[in-house]
């Protein structure tokens, strides 16, 4: 165990580390110490962790605390040299410790990450991709993000959590061997079988033969096969020593590893073959072709044609091979007690050479189990250090350094390979595999090396180097500084045009054309500076600047800016599309497409993972590879075009980040080019990347989503138990996952609830969905998964379920409730109707009573009116008597005269006829008066008729004639011709007139001089008014106020009813009767009545 002899002041951190892809330099003696960390650490503080597997280094750099972990290789690896891993951490991310080595990303999970226990005794992957782990702490299912554990407490419950082995049978059932409590058979997460094992037996290995029978290897050295309901002891022949593993062979046979070689049992459990070996065999494995491999001591064995062929490992491991993972005949993985190596051999050779060692594993990882999953990740289970995943690097990096040694410029090298401006100050040439071939130090200027900002290999194979204020050129091995005394600014880009002219762009905006004969041909000034140059096939030159794109053609500049849709960001790269358009990589403004004079932008809103782009290259597969601050974005060109055309809302881009071996971009410097062989070379902050787009190992394994649990009331249930969801569940949570194990953190999900959601809900990396208070009904929950490389699952995981209605939501209950409600309503209605009816009857009787009362009142009123008239008639009696007596007297007189004439000797007949005529006339006259009087005082029913007031007045005055004469009252009538008719009872209205005139007469009786009664008719809208005005003494104030009250009178012997009756009559006719003092003295009574149109 190494010691940290300069450890000081740094504490071990149990948190999680960001992944890194760094590699240290080799040092034979103290390689693990990290003396060459390629980090400019001025004062490194290193401390050894208590585990001893990791050494932590920290420094304060750039004002920010950076930490570095130094992966320490296991001891045997030190013999072949050790790459010391230095992991740069720029923060604390929420993922497990992520280590990177040569060619592999390594991730280790321990109990800190949720692994139930550190001994991984078995790993299997089901067809759906689910990874099962057997530990001494129970069974665990792992999706790359979280461990779902089955143990003594879980459901289903295991009889023991000390698990020693796992196996899958052909039906896909999972067999689990507990140490002492038998076998368990799991199907779809449920225990379907539990087999006891022979007494006094500890199960160490488990295998299922091709007939589906379990075989166990017991601690006591026995091997048993389950035949029917009993265990068959397979060790009937002599034991070749302790067994240590099983591997099924064909036709129900079984291979077992033992201390003395390989043993084969036939299907009946009889030992039929024994291949003796020099060393003990600890592990067996079958390759894809069905060949049996064995770890024989520190070597390997292959069973072929019934013979065992031995292989040696170079260099040999320090301990015996404890786990085997054959990839093919010539490649395999080997685990030992100290680590993991990848072996390869030349075909036909008997020596396996160590291809690579996985030195990022904790020391003493003690590989116990190896598995290659369907995405080609290698999983290693340790004896006590947990679980590790090895993922091949997808991106080949070269000159990858830790720390800020960015590749500021890249170009192809004339000699082959790649020139890379490193750290600005030196040029290095690498071959395509990343080997450093050549180093070129730039000359000093003012004591400092010149810095290379732009590189160009021209068509004459000359290397142009753009620096600060100058341009260097290398031709062959001669490096010259060009005599361009031009006071150049910082060169930002170099380009060669079709005729061999070199364009030099500087940050201050100067653009110069340098002719083939090393002569300056043209100079332009682009306002705002230049970021990029791109010669077009048509001979024009495109220039990118700050928020600007300039086209230079035939010496003419045409500029495009934000008015043309160019993003307000520096155009760092310009790529000519095959259709003539331009792709503009802008730093902060996303990707813009420029065509026909305008640009349209795709940025984060359209699904671009990052908007700070520095280089865009296209591949032959129609994809754009865009270097961004977040990594390398890969997006199909047609997808971009579809988004620009509005046919898609966003792109489904793949982002290759650190997990794929891509560091962040090189501080925004547009470094990268497309090599002649089609490979893409990009610069990052840590060096260069070379990618063969055609061969890039995109993950083509479609993820299979799976709904794990459905939870309500805080208790998760398996999906099968969630077909019927009880009513009124407030929160229904679906936990789902997928076993895309390569980069689980980049796996995305989308889900929808048929019957509720109208469309897919892209939920990102979250592996659960929640719905609240679903109404009763049938639903289907669907979830789809997308792997890190944009591949969606073939079909969604589905769960159809029913949310049960609450009892009051059940149809028949609702029907019953409705019926009850209806019944209640009917009852209420009936009661209400009855109540209303009763009330109606009451009202009717009340109305009836009122009507009879009204009728009585009416009768009384009629009687009163009659009495009023009779009284009036009585008051008028003398005048009326006069009126009657007058003709009677005339008759009597005439008759008397006639009689006397007849007694004369010669009566004159003519005279007698005259007399008789007079008698008749006077009789009629008398009867007329009587008739009128009788009519006036007659009891009668009220009869409304159309009346002309003038006519009525003229018919009434005769009744009062004598009265008027007697009182010497002069009547003045002023009745307009067009006085409207009223609808009224003739007699009652006459009564009013008689009363008023009579009153006026009486009031005038005390007046000396003229006694005038003025009767005037007037019309107002809707009303007709009749004023009866006298010039009598008028109304005294005390009388005026209560003139119309009954029993108020000024007349001795008067009843005081006349005016009260009059008012009642007028009001019954809808009119008004009022009294007021007349202006010239006296009183004026006004009758107002509603009019009827003149007939």
């Amino acid at each position: 165990m190494p010691t940290a002899d300069f450890a000081e002041g740094l504490t071990h951190r149990t948190g999680r580390w960001n992944r890194g892809t760094g590699r240290g330099a080799r040092d034979p003696d103290h390689g693990w110490l990290g003396q060459r960390t390629h980090v400019r650490v001025d004062d490194p503080l290193v401390v050894q962790t208590p585990i001893g597997a990791r050494v932590w280094a920290g420094t304060a750099a750039r004002g920010r605390f950076r930490r570095y972990a130094l992966g320490v290789g296991c001891l045997p690896c030190r013999a072949v040299g050790l790459w010391c891993s230095v992991i740069a951490l720029t923060g604390v991310a929420g993922s497990q410790e992520h280590l990177a080595g040569a060619g592999f990303d390594v991730t280790v999970w321990s109990i800190a990450e949720g692994l139930p226990q550190g001994s991984v005794n078995g790993i299997v992957q089901t067809d759906g991709g689910e990874l099962w782990l057997a530990t001494f702490g129970g069974l665990s299912s792992f999706d790359g993000v979280r461990f779902r554990n089955l143990d003594l407490d879980s459901s289903p419950r295991l009889p023991s959590q000390r698990l020693t082995a796992l196996a899958l049978d052909r039906a896909g059932d999972l067999w689990i061997a507990t140490q002492t409590d038998g076998l368990i058979r799991l199907r779809a997460g449920r225990v379907i079988d539990a087999l006891p094992v022979p007494r006094q037996t500890e199960v160490l290995s488990l295998a299922i033969d091709d007939r589906g029978r379990p075989w166990i290897q017991a601690s006591a050295g026995g091997i048993y096969c389950r035949e029917g309901d009993a265990w068959t002891d397979a060790m009937r022949a002599a034991s070749p020593g302790r067994y240590s593993g099983l591997c099924p062979g064909p036709e129900g046979t079984m291979w077992a590893a033992s201390e003395r070689g390989l043993v084969r049992f036939d299907s009946a459990g009889t030992l039929v073959q024994h291949l003796e070996t020099s060393s003990a065999v600890f592990c067996l494995a079958q390759d894809a072709a069905g060949r049996l491999w064995a770890g024989v001591g520190k070597g390997l064995g292959l069973v072929a044609n019934g013979e065992l062929k031995s292989f040696t490992i170079d260099p040999p491991p320090i301990s015996t091979v404890s786990a085997l993972l054959p990839v093919d005949e010539n490649h395999l993985w080997v685990g030992t007690a100290a680590g993991l190596c990848q072996l390869a051999r030349e075909p036909g050779q008997s020596v396996f050479r160590v291809e690579s060692r996985v030195d990022q594993l904790p020391s003493d990882f003690g590989v116990r189990w190896l598995l290659r999953d369907r995405e080609s990740n290698v999983w290693a289970g340790s004896q006590d250090k947990g679980l590790a995943r090895l993922r091949p690097h997808w991106v080949r990096g070269f000159s990858i350094d830790r720390g800020a040694r960015p590749a500021s410029a890249l170009t192809a090298a004339a000699e082959g390979g790649t020139w890379m401006a490193r750290d600005c100050t030196l040029l290095e040439r690498f071959d395509d595999r990343g080997a450093n071939l050549e180093r070129l130090d730039l000359p000093l200027e003012a004591g400092k090396p010149l810095c290379a900002f732009a590189l160009l290999l021209d068509s004459r194979k000359r290397l142009w180097i753009g620096s600060q204020g100058c341009v260097l050129r290398r031709e062959g091995t001669r490096l010259e500084r060009l005599g361009l005394d031009l006071a150049l600014g910082r060169v930002t880009d170099l380009a060669e045009d079709a005729v061999g002219g070199i364009w030099i762009a500087t940050a201050d905006g100067t653009l110069r054309q340098f002719g083939p004969e090393d002569t300056l041909q043209a100079t332009f000034l682009i306002e705002g500076g230049i970021d990029s140059l791109s010669p077009a096939p048509d001979g024009s030159l495109w220039v990118g600047g700050a928020g600007r794109l300039v086209r230079l053609q035939g010496g003419q500049l045409s500029s495009f800016g934000s008015d043309h849709g160019i993003p307000q960001a520096n155009v760092r790269d310009i790529l000519h599309d095959e259709d003539g358009g331009l792709w503009l990589a802008t730093y902060g403004g996303g990707l813009a497409r420029f065509q026909g004079g305008t640009a349209a932008t795709i940025t984060r809103a359209q699904g671009l993972p990052n908007a700070s782009l520095t280089r865009v290259l296209s591949d032959a597969q129609g994809r754009l590879w865009i270097m961004s601050n977040a990594g390398l974005i890969v997006v199909p060109r047609v997808e971009l075009l579809a988004v620009l055309a509005g046919r898609r809302t966003g792109v489904d881009a793949v982002l290759l980040g650190p997990e794929a071996g891509v560091s962040e971009a090189n501080h925004g410097a547009p470094a990268g080019f497309k090599a002649p062989d089609g490979a893409l070379v990009f610069g990052t902050v840590h060096g260069g990347l070379r990618i063969d787009p055609a061969e890039f190992p995109f993950n083509r394994v479609r993820p299979v989503p799976r709904i794990e649990t459905v939870a309500w009331d805080e208790s998760p249930r398996p999906p099968d138990a969630a077909r019927r969801v009880p009513p009124q569940i407030r929160r229904l949570r679906f936990d789902y996952t997928t076993f895309a194990l390569s980069v689980p953190a980049q796996v995305r999900f989308r889900h929808r609830l048929l019957g509720f959601d109208a469309r897919w809900i892209d939920i990102g990396q979250v592996r659960s969905a929640e719905y609240s208070t679903l109404p009763p009904g049938e639903y289907t929950f669907e979830v789809e998964a997308r792997n890190e490389h944009g591949l969606w699952s073939a079909e969604p995981a589905r769960l159809a379920f029913t949310v049960l209605p609450a009892w009051w939501q059940v149809l028949w209950v609702q029907g019953l409730l409705f019926a009850v409600l209806l019944g209640g309503l009917l009852l209420l209605h009936n009661r209400r109707v009855a109540a209303v009816r009763r009330r109606g009857e009451l009202l009717l009787s009340a109305v009836e009573g009122r009507r009879s009362a009204e009728s009585r009142e009416w009768q009384l009123r009629e009687q009163l009116l009659h009495i009023g008239r009779v009284t009036t008639a009585g008051e008028l009696a003398s005048s009326l008597a006069h009126e009657v007596n007058q003709p009677l007297a005339a008759i009597v007189a005439n008759a008397s005269a006639a009689r006397r004439k007849l007694s004369q000797p010669a009566p004159d007949p003519e005279e007698l006829r005259e007399i008789l005529g007079d008698i008749a006339a006077q009789g009629e006259r008398a009867s007329e008066v009587i008739r009128r009087l009788r009519e006036f005082i007659r009891k009668h029913e009220t009869v409304r008729e159309e009346l002309s007031i003038a006519q009525l007045l003229r018919a009434t005055l005769p009744l009062l004639r004598r009265e008027l004469e007697q009182h010497g009252v002069q009547v003045e009538l002023q009745l307009p011709e067009d006085l409207p008719c009223v609808s009224a009872d003739r007699i009652q209205l006459q009564q009013v007139l008689v009363n008023l005139i009579h009153n006026a007469c009486e009031s005038l009786s005390g007046v000396r001089g003229d006694r005038r009664l003025h009767i005037q008719g007037r019309t107002s809208p809707g009303m007709v008014a009749l004023q009866v005005r006298d010039n009598g003494p008028g109304l005294s104030p005390e009388v005026a106020g209560r003139l119309f009250q009954p029993y108020v009178t000024t007349k001795p012997g008067g009843m005081g009813l006349g005016l009260a009756i009059c008012r009642t009559i007028v009001e019954n006719h809808g009119g008004r009767l009022s009294a007021a003092p007349a202006p010239e003295g006296g009183a004026v009574f006004t009758i107002e009545l509603p009019t009827r149109p003149n007939p």
Binding site: A877, S878, S879, A881, H882, E883, V884, N885, Q886, P887, L888, A889, A890, I891, V892, A893, N894, S896, A897, R900, K901, Q904, I915, D918, I919, A921, Q922, R925, R962, E965, Q966, G968
Partner: protein
């Protein structure tokens, strides 16, 4: 038919006026009809004997007013009232004012004629009395002032001596004046003179 005379008929009712005129004329009366009180007064001659048959109620000047106006003129012509409705107060008032009769219409012929007869008789009587008194007045007017004093004193029953004392003259002179008075007044005795004085009223 015992007594006929002039009947002055005042009635505003033309028909009744005509009928009454006709009736009374048939009875022998001389009827002079007027339609109103004013018309009557215009043609009224106190010297004409007769009676007035008057309607109590008339437009304009009523019957009672006419009665009053006639009395104010000193006419004692008897008045018979006719009324359509003879209420008691009016009747009493009319009678107090000297009406001969108040008849309610329609009136029977006999009643009417009787009332008219009484009125005419009364008129005749009054006219006779009125003629005697006029003679007495004329004789009284012929008396000297001293004779009038003696007349007053003697008509009051004073003795000659008392009269002489009151007047401050001698008894002899009184006797002389007494003789003149008796002579002038056409009285034979002092008792006759007393009756005459009574008829003449206080002077």
């Amino acid at each position: 038919m015992t007594h006929v005379g002039n009947v002055f008929l005042v009635d505003d009712d033309e028909a009744l006026r005509r009928a009454t005129t006709r009736q009374l004329a048939a009875c022998g009366h001389t009827v002079i009809a007027y339609a109103s009180a004013e018309e009557f007064l215009k043609h009224f001659d106190p010297a004409k004997p007769g009676c007035v048959l008057l309607d109590l109620r008339m437009p304009g000047t009523s019957g009672l007013e006419l009665q009053r106006m006639l009395r104010e003129r000193g006419s004692c012509i008897p008045i018979v009232f006719l009324t359509g409705h003879a209420d008691v107060p009016t009747t009493v008032f009319a009678m107090k004012e000297g009406a001969m009769d108040v008849l309610e219409k329609p009136v029977s012929e006999s009643q009417l004629l009787a009332a008219l007869q009484r009125a005419l008789e009364r008129d005749a009587l009054l006219r006779r009395e009125q003629g005697d008194r006029a003679e007495l007045e004329r004789r009284f007017a012929s008396l000297t002032p001293r004779e009038r004093e003696v007349f007053r004193a003697l008509s009051l029953g004073a003795r000659n001596k008392q009269a002489a004392q009151e007047m401050g003259i001698t008894e002899r002179t009184v006797k002389l004046h007494r003789a003149h008075v008796l002579s002038k007044m056409g009285a034979a005795t002092l008792a006759d003179l007393g009756r005459i004085a009574e008829r003449l009223g206080p002077r």
